[in-house]
């Protein structure tokens, strides 16, 4: 069945470092991917998204890379700050024409000052 999984459950970095959070997806039909950030006690917050006709998209300090060949998605955070500490989820939409997202299990990012 469809699933979205993460390689690393916890990532610890130093403030100022670049962070890379990885995600593997299993459904080659997925045409939309999205990254969310969830801080403790809050709902998931949109970070960045990408459609399958792109392989890279940049936002403010964040970049999402999509490799459809190996079904891999990554989130790069430049100059990581303590405020970036949170759980990050990737999600995919494998259902063409429907608005259903399949979420990964999440990666916890810990940023040390």
């Amino acid at each position: 069945g469809e699933s979205v999984g993460l390689h690393l459950p916890t990532l610890s970095v130093q403030e100022g470092d670049n962070s890379i959070i990885n995600c593997a997806y299993s459904n080659s039909a997925s045409d939309y991917f999205i990254w969310y950030k969830q801080e403790s006690g809050k709902g998931p917050q949109f970070i960045i998204d990408i459609r399958s006709n792109m392989d890279k998209r940049q936002g403010q300090r964040v970049t999402v890379l999509l490799n459809k060949t190996v079904k891999h998605l990554s989130l790069q955070i430049a100059a990581t700050q303590p405020g970036d500490s949170a759980v990050y989820f990737c999600a995919e939409n494998p259902y063409t024409g429907f608005q259903k997202l399949v979420f990964g299990t999440g990666t916890r990012l810990l940023v040390s000052p």
Binding site: I34, Y36, K42, P44, D49, R51, F98
Partner: protein
Amino acid sequence: DAGVIQSPRHEVTEMGQEVTLRCKPISGHDYLFWYRQTMMQGLELLVYFNNKAVMDDSGMPKDRFSAKMPNASFSTLKIQPSEPRDSAVYFCASSLPGASTDTQYFGPGTRLTVL
């Protein structure tokens, strides 16, 4: 815009009681989603609406859960009777899909504890 609004933020109830969770989507959004988040299962989609009509409720235990959207600015998720295994954080999200994005915007969640 105030974002997605959910109430209550916290709910503690006893097994067997009825629980009603409420959601107000972002104005103009025509999709509304109810999710449940637990440590074991992660984020699970329970049900979603498009223009107030249920599009998919395959993730919702229909023997005890029911979801309604009587108008474009209000939805409820009801659990009757509640059970301890229903303890979780319930999120509501809304979206206005377009050519470039299917982003769903989440509310702050309702933490439900069933004793």
